[in-house]
Amino acid sequence: MEANWKDNEIQDFIRQAYQQNFDLLRLESGISLTPEVKRAGLLQVLFYWQKMRDVALNVSETEVRLSLPQQESPKEREFGIEGVVDIVREGGKTIIYDIKTHDGDYVRSHIDQYEDQLNVYAHIWKELQKQPLDGTAVICTDFPDDVKEALTSGNEAQLERALDRWDPLIEIAFDRRKVKDTIHSFGEVVDQIEDREFEPRSVEELRGSYTDRSNVSFGTHVCRNCDARFSCAAYRVYVRHGRGRADQIFENYYNDLEVGEPLEEWRTTGLDSVGDVEGMI
């Protein structure tokens, strides 16, 4: 059987599929990626194959849609919940995997959120569909900082060590008591959406940190990347309470595009994709 899994063959397959999907998505969405980001994406998949080979080899169903119909929100709206997972059956054991392109640090600092999600999926699988289940887990494909550093330095040995230390798999315990609460909370969100409650996060939350381990704030990590920030009341307050003269802040506020490398990368991608300008007229 091993003969069928020649490493370089699978790696070639990944590279080819990655490029094809890249081309298709680019055509569909009209969006492109900077070369750096594109490379990082390919590495995520290659590392997944390297680190999670046992899981990958035993996947029995991929992109399985789970749905929990006929729920009722606190305000008596009927709704359903749906999600997509991968299923692995091996040696009589069944495990649900949710693959995320998030980094492990973020997942560990928001573990409650992931527990809630996988518990709902487990509930659907086990109690609604009456299928056996032995565990659930999140796989984080974004590699940690020390792997990134090793990649930048180009030091093979350092990379190997960093990869060894990295565990992309985070097991999630099934706790059926929490399922009810999560579904209830989901129902509240359904009511909020249908009742059109669209207030932004509070200024305090924007100032709070994004993950437990870092001191980057929510405002920097999420809002700075959100085009809606310019018209957002909370973000305005968040930005204006910085240092410096008021008019200077105002100016910066409207100019807070990416700076440094991301901006340079944006230029590279943009200039690369400019076609024949004369032909456009």
Binding site: N21, Q129, R201, N225, G260
Partner: protein, 893 residues
């Protein structure tokens, strides 16, 4: 021997049967509906009259196939007329399958089911390399241009010159005049020439006409052919020219061996070719189901029969009386002639079922439109008899209520008729006969008729508000004036030689008006004024930097195409006299140096030209600029209105603007460089290639998919827009339509089509008009009102002239007490929410959810989303590959 599997399936069936599911979904089918749901063997032709439960039947039939006949969702091909219809079917099916799963524990995965419009399914066939075994490297998926991109493509100088050149015109003749005259139009407008060409190209593609074959047929034409041309006053030369243009267009789509464009019409031919070339493609789907079959065209018919070739389970559903899309190439004959087409393609007869009970309208309405259709002569001219219509449908109302439900106005002048109807509408609203004004629809053959304005004024005089999405151009909504006006102040308006005449007249007026509006905005908001000044200054700096750098290149005698040499050149350009701080920073960037070196070692060094462009490029795209504008009071207020739920109109229009600007960023200029700004190239591309196209194509205002008509407003729609909808009250605002004889395109392609039992050119206009009014008349649930104009310059078409006789009920005779009050039923399909895309996104930030998920704004730098989908799809591919290899191993051993 006992078959274990069949035992199990009997056990499951005893717990779960169709009746249980019907009960759960609150549906009791009538006899014909039941027949249609249960008939699953061989070809089936369902004629479904208006309001006869077509969607329910389709849903239950598909459910029956999946749950009780073991057909896998991926073995079903289900094509609908709109994406919205596909979405509703899919959601409905999911709901019903979820019920089934909860009873029998069997999960059903719809993600691999082929369900959507023909176009999206064709696209899927081309991308589905697993199912259709195409080698992606041999036949790469073509790049699909939508209608707007197709217009961009044809009208851009490069393509247009190629097209014109095949006509071999003298230099002093006006090509636009010549091209328009081919299509029988006397105009100098390029826009008109382009749209005429596109309409002709698309029809040719849908009829699978090979332009070169057509030309050689014309050149070798016989007497019979010449007689046809003469009797239809067609010039042979004009036809040759038209097909030569089409041929040149098809050649213009090929960019290189690996890169090819396609349009919505040719896409279908591409898919059909894959089906013909692939192995056993007639067995990929066990069931092929086509909704709205009366509006399919020739190439689609070929695709459907090819897909159904193996199993022969093809089910078509439609209503020939509601065929509306001949002008887009639809041929109702596909449906009416379906029985003999089945013989031809599949060598078997279809079963015919007629869904004839109308659950929508009150009895008098149904009687009226059923009778209406008998006023045309549908008999075929040919010897073997038969009709151009299914004659045996027996449409009848389910509601026994025999009260007056269709009335006409008192015959009078437009002014009187409109006030009489407006007053009735106001009374209906005041007396609570409808829940909201948006439940009363005004339908017109065209919204350009003068009657529309008269009616609108009459309603507005009574304090009623109207919503007319197709009556104006999108760029004429207030939000477009505001956004593009500020853009005009930042970039400046283009100059045009010889003034804004001809084609550009109205567009020029529009542009100048946006500028005037924006100046007012700046007066009201000094911060916005400052912002505009800053952006102008940035542009000026970039332009002067560009000139400063060019002077250095001149001085040093560098060619712009030679490689940028860090050691030789950097110092000299860096110290260019007059170079700004910004320019220096960009030139001195360590990132740039690294990239330059890397490219040099890779053997593809940057030319000097690239560097000059790069260091004089702006930090923002037009979409970035848009989002910065949304921070200013005037624009921010529109977001606040949506957030508070007061008015969704402005935010929907802003969202559409982001979608257009994103297209400019994708298809034209992602980065703005100074050379383009200095030489006016940007202005040509932005204003003429891009904005002018959108202006002239006059696309509609935003229509929300779920709730298309804003509350509090009376919708004014074309009959075409009302297809598939129903309203408690409908007003037919103009029962008159001019019968145009077949146009150039119809006449020109006729001899090259297959024309099996097709309607003769001379009858088409009359038939089309009958069908259009049939659609209009069958939209009403409780009350149908017909405007009856009389007097100077007014006339009424047959059969209205005869039908609206002296004994026909008139508005004054209508006792409003007899009109039932309408109350909308609960939406029977509960909504599904995604754990990640809805719940988690909302929890991250409710406002971000609203703007991007609910209203569909296009983010300016959307890498994150793209990145996530790319990785997930690749992992999915990897898993599929592993599963496939594993199966190979186990099958082998």
């Amino acid at each position: 021997m006992v078959d274990f599997n069949s035992q199990i399936s009997i056990m499951v069936k005893s717990m779960l049967n169709l009746e249980t599911l019907w009960k759960l979904s609150k549906f009791t089918p009538n006899e014909q509906q039941r027949d249609a749901i249960l008939y699953v063997d061989g070809p089936l032709c369902i004629t479904a009259g208006p309001g006869s439960g077509r969607t329910r039947v389709l849903l239950c039939r598909t459910l029956n196939l999946i749950v009780f006949h073991g057909v896998k969702p991926e073995e079903i091909f289900l094509s609908t007329f709109t994406e919205k219809a596909a979405h509703q079917l899919k959601e409905g099916l999911r709901g019903l399958l979820d019920y089934a799963t909860n009873i029998n524990g069997q999960p059903y995965d719809l993600s691999k089911m082929y369900i959507g419009t023909v176009h999206s399914l064709c696209r899927r066939i081309l991308n589905d390399r697993r199912k259709f075994l195409q080698d992606f490297h041999v036949s790469p998926t073509p790049n699909l241009m939508d209608e707007l991109s197709q217009y961009f493509h044809v009208s851009r100088t490069k393509t247009w010159r190629k097209l014109v050149s095949v006509l071999n015109l003298d230099e002093d003749t006006d090509p636009h005049l010549i091209i328009n005259s081919i299509f029988g139009v006397q105009k100098m407008s390029k826009h008109s020439a382009v749209t005429n060409c596109i309409a002709f190209f698309n029809r040719c593609s849908e009829e699978c006409i090979d332009p070169l074959e057509a030309i050689s047929m014309l050149k070798a034409s016989d007497d019979e052919f010449d007689t046809y041309l003469q009797s239809n006053s067609l010039e042979k030369d004009a036809l040759v020219q038209a097909f030569s243009l089409y041929n040149a267009y098809r050649e213009s789509l090929i960019q290189s061996e690996k890169l090819r464009n396609t349009d919505f019409s040719l896409l279908q031919q591409d898919a059909y070719r894959v089906l013909l070339e692939g192995e056993d493609t007639g067995n990929v789907f066990k069931h092929v189901i086509i909704d709205e079959y009366q509006d399919t065209n020739t190439i689609q018919e070929k695709i459907f029969f090819q897909l159904a070739k193996g199993h022969k389970h093809i089910c078509v559903v439609g209503d020939d009386d509601q065929a509306l899309y001949r002008f887009r190439g639809a041929t109702v004959e596909n449906f009416v002639d379906f029985p003999s087409r089945c013989q031809k393609y599949l060598k078997t007869e279809p079963k015919r079922i007629s869904l004839s009970t109308n659950y929508r309208s009150r009895k008098k309405i149904v009687d009226f439109y059923t009778n209406f259709m008998t006023y045309a002569n549908w008999r075929r001219n040919s010897g073997d008899g038969g009709f151009y219509r299914f004659m045996d449908k027996d449409i009848h109302a389910n509601k026994p209520d025999d009260g007056i439900s269709i009335v006409a106005s008192t015959p009078s002048s437009p002014a009187n008729v409109c006030s009489e109807i407006a007053q009735l509408v106001k009374d209906l609203i005041d007396q609570g006969k409808v829940e909201d004004p948006n439940q009363i629809a005004f339908l017109y053959p065209s919204l350009k008729a003068t009657h529309v304005e008269t009616m609108r004024n009459a309603l507005e005089r009574l304090g009623l508000r109207v919503y007319a999405p197709r009556a104006g151009r999108f760029l004429e909504v207030d939000e477009s004036y505001d956004v593009f006006g500020v853009f005009a102040l930042i970039f400046g308006l283009p100059e045009i030689q010889g003034g804004w005449g001809g084609d550009y007249g109205e567009f020029g007026d529009w542009l100048r008006q946006t500028e005037i509006n924006a100046k007012q905005l700046l007066k009201e908001d000094p911060a916005l004024k400052q912002f505009v000044a800053d952006k102008r200054a940035e542009i000026e700096t970039a332009c002067s930097d560009s000139q400063a750098l060019m002077r250095v290149a001149d001085r040093e005698n560098w060619s712009l195409t030679e490689p940028y040499d860090l050691r030789q050149m950097k110092r000299k350009v860096y110290s260019a006299p007059g170079l700004s701080e910004t320019g220096r920073k960009l030139l001195g960037s360590a990132y740039l140096d690294r990239t330059v070196e890397r490219r040099a070692t890779e053997g593809r060094p940057f030319p000097l030209d690239y560097i000059l462009k790069r260091v004089t490029s702006l930090d923002w795209s037009v979409l970035d600029l848009f989002y910065r504008l949304t921070g200013f009071t005037h624009f921010k207020a529109m977001f606040d209105l949506a957030q508070s739920g007061e008015d969704e109109g402005p935010i929907c229009n802003l969202s559409l603007i982001t979608q257009y600007l994103a297209r400019f960023v994708d298809e034209f200029l992602p980065v703005l460089t100074a050379d383009l700004l200095v030489e006016g190239v940007f202005h040509k591309v932005f204003y003429f290639s891009f904005l002018f196209s959108i202006y002239r194509l006059g696309e509609s205002e935003y229509e929300d998919a779920e709730d298309p008509f804003p509350k509090g407003r009376i919708p004014f729609l074309t009959v075409h827009q009302s297809k598939g909808l129903e309203f408690p009250v409908v007003v037919l605002g103009n029962p008159r339509r001019r019968l145009h004889p077949a146009g150039f395109i119809e006449k020109a392609i006729f001899p090259f089509c297959e024309n099996e039992n097709s309607e003769p050119l001379s009858r088409q206009a009359e038939f089309d008009s009958m069908r259009m009014f049939y659609v209009a008349l069958s939209r009403a649930q409780n009350l149908m009102i017909v405007a009856h104009y009389k007097g100077r310059g007014q006339s009424t078409n047959e059969p209205f002239k005869t039908l609206l006789d002296d004994s026909f009920p008139r508005i004054p005779e209508l006792d409003l007490v007899t009109v039932p009050s309408f109350s909308s039923k609960e939406n029977d399909l509960p909504k599904m929410y995604s754990y990640t895309a809805d719940y988690l996104t909302y929890k991250k930030c409710p406002r971000q959810y609203m703007i991007f998920r609910k209203y569909g704004f296009v983010p300016s730098r959307a890498q994150t989303m793209f990145f996530g989908s790319l990785i997930h799809r690749t992992l999915e591919d990897l898993h599929h590959e592993i599963i496939r290899r594993r199966e190979e191993v186990s099958n082998g051993s």
